[in-house]
């Protein structure tokens, strides 16, 4: 009994255990529901899965089903990010326990009963429980905001670092000197010595909770009349209702905020510091706030200029992420070549690529810019000349591919961090890390070519290319899922060992590993 209890405590009481469960839940949902579309559906696997699991698929309800599916997966991702935040940042133990417990119950109830309602007949009690789950996640978000309050003196940075040090550091970089900074005392601060990184986390949490309302309110409005719709299907209509704008704003900002939060987590996990950190945090705070104001503006008379505000907000956020990548690459190279007096280019590259679990998340952020952000900007610039010449359903492929890739890249960053957190070593670490990076990037790159294919091939001649891309996408995603399954089996096996890795992880918080 004690053995069971200890394991239960690990799974639901430790940060790594909670992350493990959430990843496993997402993995199961992705593996099963991934077989309902694409080449797997064409090959007839879809029908087998539907019959085998007794799913009740009603054609008229596809949009509603998909909305619940997106939300079920997203809630588990948000739970993982929340566990990482509560594990990485200082906060009162009560809050940490309360937040983790609430969000765990919330996402599990939302996922299990939401999917039950959407795919296995309409039991309305399940729908009620799905809403309850979402509400609990919202409540956990409110608690997270309270716990992160950066103006609580307990969380002030107590050193004397100030504006003068900022100027000094900038001067040092300008003079191409070494960063004259110690790891312990270099977090950017205002005169009130508030931890700017904590402010960035706080801003992301506050805006996430507010932005959730932009989905909740129209969700109730449309849901009560079963008037569900997918945003990509109304994108070209010149007249949209306020509620439709709210839904479109909601889906864009929530994904952007999940990306911002994972960037902040990445920074904390790598112990992002120094002058670039000082520059990045205010940019991230500014970007988060302006981006949200722009998105919220779509339901106000500011709608005509909302997109401009959004672009203005996205720019500092992306610059902040770029600063993290520059700093992270530089750190990996410096650490990897510490024993070499004058490392050459090859040695520097070798050092950069030495550890896929450290390099991978930063690389995926760069890759994200090629597969999503750049295309988004390209689309915006050439909207009338190229994309709006295509039929709406071609534009829909571009839009849905764009944000599926963005979501999946965030998922791979989480998987890479999880691999790092659970202490993979040696060849296993190399295989796991590089497999996730290479297979997922094959899939994402193929999706990008698929989205943009009309730029270089006609409809009549596209089939061989489409076939190759579809198989490459499914191969890349499938292999990533196989790697994930392998990790899950490894962790499951470990749980059966009396002195497994899980014992070490039971009491060790992830924040303790940050400086390693």
């Amino acid at each position: 009994m004690s053995a069971l209890q200890t394991r239960f405590n690990y799974i639901f009481g430790s940060t790594r255990g909670l992350i493990l469960v959430a990843i496993a839940m997402i993995g199961i949902v992705t593996a099963i529901w991934g077989m309902l579309s694409g080449p797997m559906a064409e090959m007839g696997v879809r029908e087998v899965v539907i019959k085998l699991l007794g799913m009740d698929i009603v054609q008229a309800e596809r949009e509603g089903r998909i909305i619940i599916l997106y939300h079920s997966i997203a809630m588990a991702v948000i739970a993982i990010e929340t566990y990482m935040v509560t594990g990485l940042l200082k906060m009162k133990p009560f809050f940490k326990t309360a937040i983790n417990a609430t969000i765990t119950v919330g996402y599990m109830v939302a996922l299990i009963f939401g999917m039950g309602f959407a795919y296995f007949g309409h039991n309305w009690a399940f729908h009620g429980l799905y809403i309850l789950g979402l509400s609990l996640i919202f409540f956990a978000g409110v608690m997270l905001i309270i716990s992160l309050w950066p103006w609580n003196k307990e969380y002030y940075i107590t050193n004397e670092n100030n504006l003068w040090n900022w100027v000094r550091n900038i001067w040092c970089v300008w003079r191409k000197n070494e960063y004259q900074i110690n790891d312990e005392d270099d977090y950017p601060q205002t005169k009130k010595i508030v931890d700017m990184e904590r402010v960035a986390f706080f801003a992301a949490a506050v805006t996430t909770v507010i932005s959730a309302l932009f989905g909740a309110v129209p969700g109730s409005f449309f849901g009560n009349g079963f008037e569900v719709f997918l945003a990509e299907n109304v994108i070209r209509y010149p007249e949209k209702t306020t509620m439709e704008y709210a839904v479109i704003g909601h889906l864009h900002i929530m994904l952007a905020l999940i990306a911002i939060m994972i960037t902040l987590i990445a920074g904390r996990w790598l112990n992002f510091n120094g002058i670039l950190h000082k520059l990045a945090m205010p940019l991230m705070i500014l970007g988060t706030i302006v981006l949200n104001l722009g998105v919220w503006g779509v339901v106000t008379p500011l709608e005509p200029i909302a997109h401009t505000i959004i672009t203005e907000g996205a720019t500092p956020s992306m610059i902040a992420a770029l600063l993290l990548v520059i700093w992270g690459f530089d750190k990996l190279i410096r650490e990897g070549t510490a024993n070499i007096k004058k490392p050459n280019f090859g040695q520097k590259i070798g050092a950069l690529l030495h550890d896929p679990l450290k390099f991978g998340p930063l690389w995926q952020m760069i890759f994200m810019n090629f597969t999503t952000s750049l295309i988004g900007i390209f689309m915006a610039i050439r909207l009338e000349k190229i994309f709006r010449v295509w039929p709406a359903h071609e534009e829909r492929i571009e839009l849905t591919g764009h944000w599926h890739v963005l979501s999946a890249i965030i998922a791979t960053i989480i998987l890479l961090y999880y691999g790092d957190m659970c202490g993979l070593k040696g060849k296993l670490r190399q295989w796991y890390g590089w497999s996730i990076i290479i297979f997922s990037d094959i899939a994402f790159g193929s999706v990008t070519i698929f989205e943009m294919k009309r730029l270089f091939i006609t409809e009549a001649e596209q089939q061989p290319l489409v076939n190759a891309l579809m198989y490459a996408i499914d191969f890349g995603l499938g292999m990533s899922l196989v790697i994930l399954a392998g990790l899950m089996v490894y962790r499951l096996t470990d749980l059966f060992k009396s002195k497994g890795r899980w014992i070490e992880e039971l009491d060790q918080e992830i924040a303790q590993e940050v400086n390693k």
Partner: protein, 296 residues
């Protein structure tokens, strides 16, 4: 050796994707027995419109039982060219359109009065050939829906015969009847109900040309060789109201130049064959997956 296996596999996939597509590959020829000149009468009254099943009303009208075929369109071109109704302009057929009222709404493009493209002549997907005086149909495509035709080309055809394009409401009512079903024939779709992406019909070759159009009225319950179809007529007896080709509709909406299409096509998954699904494009757009039918 092991290290090069993955790159080799990827290279093989890449090379396979570069294989040229023979757009003139032969196509199975079947007569369906459905008359493309037939019209269905749709009574005045209420029906369920859209996914949310709002109650809407139309006047009585008639609508073609099938899409306009390539042979019918060639007949129109041969008849109207000498009269100057359509003109050959370099590599395309053009015709006059009186223009739309421009509202200056964001993203709206002005459609002025003038000659607009009906169809391209020099395009590998075009099944209509022109020898300088006469239009002919590529063999095997006579009873297939007319494709590679712009909205102007569809509008011009209907106008020439004193018909018109159906409105979106008329189109949907003709496909749905008085019921609430998502498909013209009912609630679910099987692969031999309609021509859609990867539906394994006799015209499809997913290894090279992909999905191709089927003759109008093909899914009428007949057996063609070893291929058994299900009779998939709408409650009013219309064929191809789901799949085969998207169909242009006639509405010109205020503040937008896009024209709407209905029905899904050979290139879309089954979900886009639901009767309420809308697609839209600029009126100059043409594609191997877009056709039309007329109403009066």
């Amino acid at each position: 050796m092991k290290r090069i296996i993955l790159p080799l596999i990827l290279l093989a996939i890449l090379l396979a994707s570069c294989a040229p597509v023979n757009l003139n590959a032969s196509i199975p020829i079947f007569g369906t027995g459905i008359d493309p000149n037939a019209w269905a009468e749709i009574p005045a009254g209420e029906f369920h419109f859209g996914q949310q099943e709002e109650i809407e009303t139309t006047e009585a009208y008639e609508i073609m039982v099938t899409d306009v075929t390539t042979a019918q369109y060639v007949g129109f071109l041969n008849e109207s060219l000498p009269k100057g109704y359509v003109k050959v302009s370099s590599d395309r057929i053009v015709g006059f359109y009186p223009g739309d009222k421009f509202h200056g709404v964001k993203h709206e493009e002005e459609i002025k009065a003038g000659n607009w493209i009906y169809l391209p002549l020099i395009d590998p997907s075009q099944h209509i050939k022109f020898d300088g005086t006469t239009f002919t149909v590529q063999s095997g495509y006579e009873n297939h829906p007319m494709t590679m035709v712009t909205w102007f080309g569809a509008w011009g055809y209907c106008k020439y015969y004193d018909y018109r394009l159906p409105t979106e409401m008329e189109w949907e009512k003709a496909g749905r009847g008085a019921g609430k079903h998502p498909f013209p024939w009912g609630d679910d779709i099987a692969s031999n109900n309609a021509n859609f992406y990867a539906s394994r019909d006799p015209f499809e070759d997913m290894g090279s040309v992909g999905s191709r159009t089927s003759p109008v009225g093909f899914f009428n319950g007949q057996k063609y060789g070893n291929y058994q179809t299900i009779d998939s007529a709408s409650p009013y007896g219309l064929y191809d109201m789901a799949g085969n080709v998207w169909q242009w509709t006639g509405n010109v909406y205020e503040g937008m130049h896009y024209r709407f299409m209905r029905g899904g096509s050979k290139d879309t998954y089954d979900m886009d064959l639901r009767l309420w699904v809308r697609n839209n494009a600029t009126p100059t757009y043409f594609s191997p997956g877009v056709g039309f039918r007329c109403a009066k």
